[in-house]
Every structure is written in C-alpha cells, then in structure tokens.
C-alpha cells in the first residue's frame, strides 16, 4: 500500500493525523509528514484518513 498526499490541495487540517497517527504527522501549521509505505495492518486507519481529509488530498495506491 502506497500513501500519496497532494500537498497542493492539503490545507493542513491534520484530521489525517488524528485518524491515523501512526502514518501522518502534522508537525506545524504547514508541514505534513507521512509514511509513504505503511504496514498493511494500518489500511483501515489510512482509508479513514483518506475519507476524513477535508480537501481529499490523500489517495491510496495498491
């Protein structure tokens, strides 16, 4: 599973970091870090993060 984030669309809400704290980390108001190839066990969290992102910046590639 690959996690892609479109930083042009990201508005740094950080809902991803709440939904999937093991994958996303909003370090400050304009810096998002994420694990681009998280463990498969985290798929449900990553899907929840992709759903909850207000700007739909997250996509999952299998």
């Amino acid at each position: 599973m690959k996690v892609l984030v479109d930083l042009d669309v990201c508005e740094y809400h950080g809902q991803c970091a709440i939904a999937a704290p093991d994958v996303f980390d909003l370090k400050d108001e304009s810096t998002l870090l994420w694990d681009a190839e998280p463990d498969e066990a985290l798929r449900a969290d990553v899907e929840a993060a992709a759903d909850v992102c207000p700007t739909q910046a997250i996509s999952i590639q299998d």
Binding site: E11, H13, G14, Q15, A17, I18, P21, D25, L26, D28, A48, D51, V52, P54, T55, Q56, S59
Partner: protein
C-alpha cells in the same frame, strides 16, 4: 436479470454510497441520479477559496462548471456498471413497487435504494429584490455570488451560523462592507457556546465585520428598478445593501418521498443501520438522514456536518448489500464526528458533540488570547461529549478524542 441499486443524490453522500456499495461486494448495477449537472464535488471551498479566487468577469454557468470541476472528488471506483444521470431530479417514489420517477418522465425500478438527496437552503419569506438575493449551497450559487460581491459595496448576511460567518469573512476580504444579522445573542452560539462564539465575533469585528445581534429581518427593500436596496430589521432600523445572503439554514429534500408512509418530519428517519424505518431495501445517507448516531442516544437528528456523508454511507452500504444478498453483517461503532470552519486566518476544529452543551469550559489556553490556541470542552451530564479547538495541532487533540470516545461508550447522552 441484473439487479440495480439506485442512489438518489450525487453529492458526497451519493459518491460515498457508491464507493461503499462496491467495497461491500455489490457487483451489479448502480444508477446515480443527481440534480446538479456536475459529478460530485466538495462544497466547503465554496464559501472561501472559490469566492475569493474566481474571476468575477466570467459568466455564471462557465464559472459554476469551473468550480465544480476544480472541487470534484476523485472517483475511487471502477466506472463499470455505474451509470450517472446528472442534471436529473427524482420527483416521486413508490417504495412498495420499488420505483422512482425522474423529472424527464422516466420511471426507474430498483432492487435497493439509497436516499442521498441532501438539503436546499431555506429562504426568507419575503418577495422581491431577487437579483440581489443569494444563498450558498451549490457551485452555481457560488459563481453568482462571486460576480455580485465584485460589484457590491454593501453586503448583508442574514444568519450568523458557520456558512454566514464564512461568507462574511470572505466578503470582507474582498473589500465589501459586511453586516451579519443574527437573532441569537452571538453568532454560532449553539455550536460553540457563548465564550468561544463571543471570541470569534470579536475576531470578525476587529476585521470590520459588523454584527447586529438579537434582531430579525422584518422586510426587504427594493429600489425603483426592483433591485435589492436593503433590509429593515424588526425594530424598524434600515440597513442598505446591494447583496443579501440568506444563510438561515436548510430544508431536507424529501418531498419526492411523500405518500409512502415514512416519517419525513425532519429529513428521513432511519434506524441505527441507516435503514429507512419500515423499509427493508431503502437506506438514507448524509444531510438528509435523521438518525441517532454513536454519541447521542435520543432523539434522532440530522447531522449537517461534512463527515456525516462518509460516516453514514460506511454504515448504510454494507447493511443494504447484506440485505439484498441475504446475509448478515456486523456494523462497528460509529466514528467520532468532526467538523471545522475556516474564517479569516482562523480555523475552529470540533470533535464529538459540541452543540447546546450544559457547560463549556476552557481546557487549555484562554479565550482572551484564543487566536494563540485554545481548547474548549463541551459537557453534558458531567461527561465530556466534545471539544472545540482553535489554532491547536492535532497531536494535542488526540487525548481529548480518546476521552470523548470513552464518554460515549459509558454514558447515554440525551440531546
């Protein structure tokens, strides 16, 4: 003979329903019917970036298409077997016969139905001044409002909820003179509680937005040519404007379901599995659905938060597929609801149930310096049911989210 699920509504709720139907194993046909002529697009940017950034000289229809295209959701399912009938409205349903009628005269039959027809804005009960009157729900509304704001000196926004306050901030940033008329003592009072609501009002006022609180609109005024000239308050005070934005709430789009014996008193009443009460193959999702959810035991209500489209579809779709395929399915717990509002340079983020609490307390930071970061807790019957945060990194909110989730499993919260 291939079976079909009809999804009535092609905004976020309808889209998530399609995705979750496929994810739940539905391999047969899906027909999505949407009254707007666009593929599903995201509404939150309509009150902010699109109003600011659009070319005010473009014609409304092109601008609406442009907005809808740039806000379009990625479609995360294989298009095979999914038909999109856009620019079509469902006008009637005969649930016993499993049929719906469209406004082009067609009748479609279904094996399963997802009701996702959402909301339309409420309007003030006055006539006149039509060209200067606006609501904000669709890309077309946003395109129309953008053109109007470019020419307007003075804007009156009726309704100080989230939409009204977001439009106020955007209009002010575009250089308009902005007045918000709100009957309650503070804008966003029910959602934020008095302290944070007053703090937000102060932030707006320091940027030149004027609030008229505790007053309602008693009349509209037109000029000699019938154009919008202003409003009159219920105390007789006139307020002149070229643009009037009606941000006074919404009506659920349920008229098409009349005559089927459903409870349509406030949206479509559903059970905990999002099944419409009394129907075994009809579910509802999103803004139109009235349901209990995880954090509120009683009574069922409509949740006008963006997250509800996804949360309800995640619940409704597997249940519907299980029903159609004759299997049983287990539905997990409801996720914690979230919401946000962006106004000027501030973002308020909400977790859980924050509306009309017994008590609001500041958990971190202060209301006096709230722009630097504050967390306010919302309490009901002694339990923390939600938190509101301004300028707080998500890592700080996680412990409160855990606390709110724990409270929901322990208490039955009556709203």
């Amino acid at each position: 003979m291939t079976r079909r699920v009809i999804v009535a509504g092609a905004s976020l709720g309808g889209l998530r329903a399609v995705e979750r139907l496929r994810a739940a194993g539905w391999r047969e046909d899906i027909t999505v019917i949407g009254s707007e002529p666009h593929m599903p697009y995201n509404r939150p940017p309509l009150s902010k970036s699109f109003l600011r950034e659009l070319d005010p000289n473009s014609d409304t229809h092109s601008a609406a298409r442009e907005i809808a295209a740039s806000a379009a959701f990625p479609v995360r399912v294989d298009p095979a077997g999914i038909e999109w009938r856009l620019g079509r409205t469902v006008t009637a349903a005969r649930l016993a016969a499993r049929e719906v009628d469209l406004d082009d005269g067609t009748t479609l039959s279904y094996d399963g139905l997802v009701i996702a027809t959402g909301l339309r804005p409420r309007r003030l009960g006055f006539t006149g001044g039509d060209a200067g009157r606006h609501v904000l729900r669709t890309a077309h509304d946003a395109a129309r409002l953008r053109v109007a704001l470019a020419k307007a000196g003075r804007v009156v926004i009726v309704g100080g909820g989230f939409i009204g306050c977001e439009v106020a901030a955007t209009a002010r940033q575009l250089g308009c003179e902005v007045t918000v008329v709100e009957p309650l003592p503070e804008p966003m009072l029910a959602a934020l509680g008095g302290g944070l609501a007053a703090a937000m009002r102060g932030h707006h006022e320091r940027r030149g937005v004027r609030f008229v609180l505790g007053r309602a609109v008693a009349a509209l005024r037109e000029d000699a040519s019938g154009a919008m000239a202003g409003i009159e308050l219920d105390d007789g005070t006139p307020i002149a404007c070229e643009v009037l934005v009606e941000a006074i709430g919404s009506h659920p789009n349920i008229e098409w379901l009349a005559g089927n014996g459903l409870d349509l008193s406030n949206g479509v009443l559903c059970d905990d599995r999002m099944f419409v009460e009394g129907c075994s193959e009809v579910v509802a999702v999103g803004d139109v659905a009235r349901y209990r959810g995880g954090l509120c035991a009683d009574p069922p209500r409509r949740t006008e938060h963006w997250c509800a489209a996804t949360d309800t579809a995640r619940r409704a779709a597997p249940g519907l597929v299980a029903q159609l395929d004759g299997v049983t399915t287990e539905l997990g717990p409801w996720p914690i609801p979230t919401f946000w509002t962006d106004q000027f340079d501030l973002r308020v983020q909400g977790l859980g149930v924050t509306g009309a609490a017994d008590e609001y307390t500041v958990l971190e930071g202060s209301l006096e310096q709230f722009e630097r970061g504050v967390i306010v807790g919302a309490w009901r019957t002694g339990a923390l049911t939600g938190v509101l945060a301004v300028g707080v990194p998500p890592a700080f909110l996680r412990p409160y989210r855990d606390q709110v989730m724990a409270a929901s499993s322990q208490t039955s919260v009556t709203v």
